[in-house]
Structure formats: C-alpha cells, structure tokens
Assembly symmetry: C4
Homo-oligomer: 215 residues x 4
C-alpha cells in the first residue's frame, strides 16, 4: 500500500524517490551489506518531508509499499506504519547538510568489524588511497578523510549530540560509523550516495586487510 500524501506533496515525487530507495536497497543487499532485515535508507522529498524505509522490511526486495513519509521531527505523515527507529539520524543529516538528497545506512561485516576495531580511537583515517577521489570534493589520494566512530546507543538523541558536536567543531563529515553497528553516508543524489557507500566499504576493507598483513 503506497503512502497517500497530503497536498502539496507530489505522489510522483514520492514514487520516484521510493523507486530510487528500492534500487539502492537491492544493490546493497546483493552485496551482503544489509543482513537480516537490518539497514535503513531515505531520500529528501521537500522542505518538510523525507521518504524513509519502514522498520523491519527485507532491504533486497523493497517496493513503494515499504517506504513511508515522515516530517523532520520523524513523525509519520499519511501512514500508520512505524518508520525506522533511526529516522531522526536521517532528518538530522538533511537539516545539517542542505545539499544532501539521499542517505544510506548499512550493516556490512566490514563496517561492523571496523567500527568495533576503531571504537576506542573514535576515528578511522584514510590516507593514500586513490579511491578517496570517489568522495565528492576530493581530487587526490594525498587528501586525508576522517570518519568518526560513535559509541552505539539505542537512544537517538545521544547519537545526534555526537554528530552535532563533530560538526559544530567545524570538522568535515562525509560519513560516520556507529560501533558494532554500521555506516551512515549521504550525497547530492542517490547515485552519489551509492558511490560514497561503495567507496567507504572498499576503503574500510582495505584498511582491515592492510592491518591484518602489517601488524
């Protein structure tokens, strides 16, 4: 059952964004990044609404009926479903990054393991990898990209406060990990967001491999 939207929210826009989310979900699931119905995805609809996956659905077989509309306070709009428990992490990113149009949160094994391994350091630093150029705004492997690792919490305001603190300190942010959990990343459209996700997954995998080989 597709969410019915109040005017002036366009059903066409919703359908388009929900289809983007479903396609990205299939790609992520096919790569094994969304085990056991984990992960959640969203896309910005307008100044008041986002589209976000309904809690607990199989991320490899999403349809429009698995996506719902919420406002920027995370409240359902025109739906009695429960949005992902982490919806407020999505709305926070849309509010802090006006250019962000899509967000992907996944739980790959590499992401989960790296997030535990670097939890104490609170950061993963990427240096010297050509694939850093896949992150928008980076034109050389000589750049440095820091991805913070937040302690996990079931209480969203705690996580949001950590993200706000990082941003309020003026530090660049392209993605963040939550310990034992997964990654959040975003972009100016779904394709860029998928490229960022794929790049961070790759870079984290390289860091783990190199660590195994050089310790």
């Amino acid at each position: 059952m597709t969410a019915s939207l109040q005017a002036p929210l366009s059903q066409d826009l919703f359908n388009h964004r929900a289809d983007d989310i479903a396609a990205a979900g299939k790609y992520a699931a096919d790569h094994g990044w969304t085990p056991a119905t984990s992960s959640n995805f969203s896309a910005r609809l307008d100044e008041d609404h986002i589209a976000v996956t309904i809690s607990g659905r199989d991320k490899g077989r999403l349809g429009r009926e698995d996506v719902m509309v919420v406002d920027y306070q995370g409240r359902p709009v025109g739906s009695s479903h429960r949005p992902s428990a982490e919806t407020l992490l999505h709305t926070q990113i849309y509010q802090r990054f006006p250019e962000a149009q899509a967000i992907l949160h996944t739980h790959s094994r590499v992401q989960s393991v790296a997030s535990r391994l670097y939890a104490d350091a609170g950061i993963v630093r990427f240096e010297g990898w050509e694939l850093q150029k896949a992150i928008s705004g980076h034109t050389t492997h000589e750049s440095v990209i820091d991805v913070p690792v937040l302690p996990n919490s079931q209480h969203m305001p705690e996580l949001m406060a950590k993200v706000d603190a990082w941003l309020d300190a003026g530090k660049p942010l392209y993605a963040y990990l939550i310990s034992g959990h997964g990654i959040y990343t975003w972009g100016r459209d779904m394709n860029e967001t998928l490229r960022h996700l794929e790049a961070f997954e790759f870079l984290l995998g390289c860091e783990l491999d190199l660590r195994r080989l050089t310790r």
Copy 2:
C-alpha cells in the same frame, strides 16, 4: 514423487511447508552455506508430524519430492525414503519449543571454523553488536547472547542430551553449534528462522574477523 499423506494431514499444508523449505534451501545454497549436499531443513506440520529434507539431496535445488514427512520419533510417514540422519535433533527442538515452526541446519565455512575454535570454551558469546537485535526478543546491542558449542557425535542421543541439559539448566537458547559441523537455529516461521540464520552467520563472521585483527 511427493509424499502421500494419511488423513487428516493436509497435502496443501505439506506442499506449502515443502515450498518454504525449498526456498530457504536455495537462499542458503546461494550463499554457500550448504556445501557438498550437507545441511538439513524442516518445518512443523501438526502435533504429530514434521516435514524434513530427505538425506543427501542438493540443498540448492530442492523440490517437494526432496521433502518427506516424519513423526516426532523420526519415523517416516507415507514414504520409503531415509530422512536426514539428524532428524531427531529437529523433533527435539519442536518438542522443547512449542512456538518453533521451522528449523535450519547449515554448514558454512564460518560456522564450521567458529565451532572448532570455540569448542573448548563450549560457548560463543555475542555482546555489543547491533545485529543481535535480529534475534527475536532482543531490543538492544547491550544484551548478551550465548550460543553453546556441542562436541560432534554421530550418535544423536548424545547431542540431544547436551541440548536438554542446557535447557534444563534454564538457559536461553536461540541456536547451537556442533564442533566442526555447523549451526541449528529456528523461529516462529520460516522467515524468522532465515533471519536468525543470517544474523548468526553474520555475527560469527564478525567475531572471527575481530579475533584475527586483535589477537
């Protein structure tokens, strides 16, 4: 040749459960969790019968003709085929867990290796992983999930006694490993059982990776 069932066992019910088993088998085989015709699967039919895979079949290409009916003592009903040698481990779970409707037993490389590695400890403990929430009844990564590792045996009553002992001690049980062998897990329907299997496979993989990186 589909098993012919005695009244009042419904052929429709058998077909439905056999189709569930075949779909789960394909999913598990596609992920490489059922090498060399290993693994076995079942579903509860009624108070007297379960459906279980016939011994030795390729788990990635199961049809209704690869599934048979047995009673709770593991005796074939309406079939001259030999059920999986481990059928009594299935019936034990259905008897001890009235809500269990489906059981999956697989042999992935991660399961086999982890079961050998933790055989002496007799247990794998999961703590701090968000994906623990995929196990029914768990709402936070702060929970602790213990999965026992039983010594392997070709004699089913030995294994059954270990499972009974664990349960009789009042300890929660969501799955168990058998050393050098694989995992048993179950759920309230086939979807939940698959989610549990996928979650435990993921969690075991994370534990092995983290151990490799931190020893």
Copy 3:
C-alpha cells in the same frame, strides 16, 4: 566442431559426457575455481577412450566442441586439437581406479595457497570435520583423510610416479594437490566428483582459516 568418433564409440555417449563436463565446468567457473582458462576436466567413455577438455578453453563456457577424445596413452582420437597438457594424469587415475568415471582438476585460490603451505609436509590431513562424510566411504567425522601434496612439475611422468608411489604403498587416495597449482579429484559419476571437489575446497578453506586464527 564436435569430435567424430570411430565405431564402436557412440556419439550419444560422447555428447552426454561432454555435456556433463560443460555443466561441471560452469559450476566450477561460477565459484572462481578456474581462473584465466586454467583447469581441466574429463570423463571415461569406454575401456579405450576418455573425453577431456581441449587446452586453453574458457572453462565457464564449455560446449561439446571444447571436449575431445583421447586414448589411454593420451593420443587424440578423431581430432586434430591438442588435449590438456595434463591428460596423462587423467588416464592414470582411470587406469588405477576402475570405478572412476569423471575427474575434475581446478585451480582455486584456496587450493593454490594450501598446496604451497603444505608442500614441505607433503600432506594435508583432515580430522574432525563433519564434511569429511561427503567423501564416499566416510561415515563419521572421526575418520582421517590424508591428501598428498606433490611438488609441481611440467613433466607428467614425474607427477605420475609420485601418484603411483603413494598408491603402491597401499595408502587410500581420494584427491591430490600439486604445489602452487591445484587439486585433482574423481568419483563414480560427475555428481560424486563435483561433491568431492566441493568438499575438499571447503575443507581446505576451513584448515586455512583455522590456521590463521590459532597460530
């Protein structure tokens, strides 16, 4: 171009065996066990002939035209193609194991790495793995299965002499590895041979993982 056979060799028999070889090749290639046109496969035709893959073909896209007939001295029959350079290793197995009907030789990464790692020991020993039961004649994980590792050579008689020496010593043989190279295994039909290949690939992978985790 399918090989034309002299009477009394049946074209139907050849076609059937060539199709078996092609199907096994696709399975092995899909699993990544035949990189860069490596590997070779065969099936017994009759007391005087075997069917074997032509040298250098892509093992994931074999057709009947990629399979040729040779006699037990490895000489082409009814074909001007060059058989695999290792054809004599195939004919040796058919001569020493009258029940062998199919042989698969692959080059997976696990096989190549394990063969180097155990080259000095000259043997890989499997003990305590449930999947040993996938090797015909084994009914318990308590059995011991030894797979010899031969030094590599481009000179087939050298390799054949090592295989003969092992067999003449009365030791059981289900498969052998060649160092830096790959595995040979066989069975009473192509399905059994594939099951043996899949089981040894799995067991070698488990041994490598366990070694990485426990050294």
Copy 4:
C-alpha cells in the same frame, strides 16, 4: 551518443572495440574490481587513435556512448567528453608495445592492498605458481615474473617516466601496480588482456594469503 569519427576511422571498428570494452567492463565490475566508478579501459583503433572510457562512468554498465576516441597525445577526437584522467598511461603502453591491442586498469581490493604492501619494495615477484603460465610467453611455474609497484601520483608524466625507466632498463613488463591504486595490464587482444588481469588478480590474492599464513 556514439562518437562520430573522421574518415578514415571506421565506425564499425570503433563499435567493435567499444563493445569489447563494455563486455570486459561488465566482467570486471561483476567481480568487484571497479568500485565506485573507478577504473578505465581502452583498445587500439589504428596508428593514430585509441578508444578509451569516458571519465566517471559506471564500469559495469558501459555502452558505446561511454567510450570515446583520443589520439596518442590523449586529445579527444570527435567528442567533447573528458577522457579518463589516466589516458596518457594507456597511450604510452600502445606506443611502447606495438603488439598491445587492449589495456585494462582496475582497482580491486586485492590490487589496492598489495600495492600498498609492496610499495616500499617497489616490486611484487611471482615464483612457483602454475598460473604464471597464463601470462603470454610463460610455459612453466619455474619462471619468475616481476611486477613493479610505482608510487602514486596525480601527475601522469611522473608515472610515465617510471614506466619508461623500467622498460629502458630492458626489464620485461607485463603489468604494473600503482601504490594504493590498482593495476595496469594489456594483451594482444581483449581476451588475452582479460586473462592477464584475471591471472594477476589471482596471483596477488595468493601472495597476500600466503603472507598472512606464514609471517
């Protein structure tokens, strides 16, 4: 939009080479060797032109419209698109190796990690692997194949000078790695180039595995 070519460049030839590039790209992408729109591919057209992938395209979904023509100085011919930033590395190889007809440059995790690991040594040496025979001109595992590892640079002439220095020293060259980046390899047609790529990917993976197991 397919590039329109000036006479006497044949549109048929371009289409044929672009289709080869697209097929190779799909194969490489399906194996995970081209993450996040990285990698670039080319084929020789004639004495004055090559076909090369346009910058930033998804390498798993290439069509003729994603391939453009450049001259041997890397200047676009009949196209306003931007060729890959590394086009001059392609033209250098075509100029130094008259028999080279196709070049593949990919970014697999194995390639990226190995290139960092062997960056200080400046070389990866392969010895004793049967799969070395997949590199044209090699007929035994007893050969030695050296693959240089160049320091990464965003400035192509720096990289070209390193390649020239290696060749001018009279050393054989079948492929080279760039640190933290990926591999370049080539062949007398696209099939041979793909075989070389697959062989080097395999050999690098074996070296990393063996190193993990024996350090």
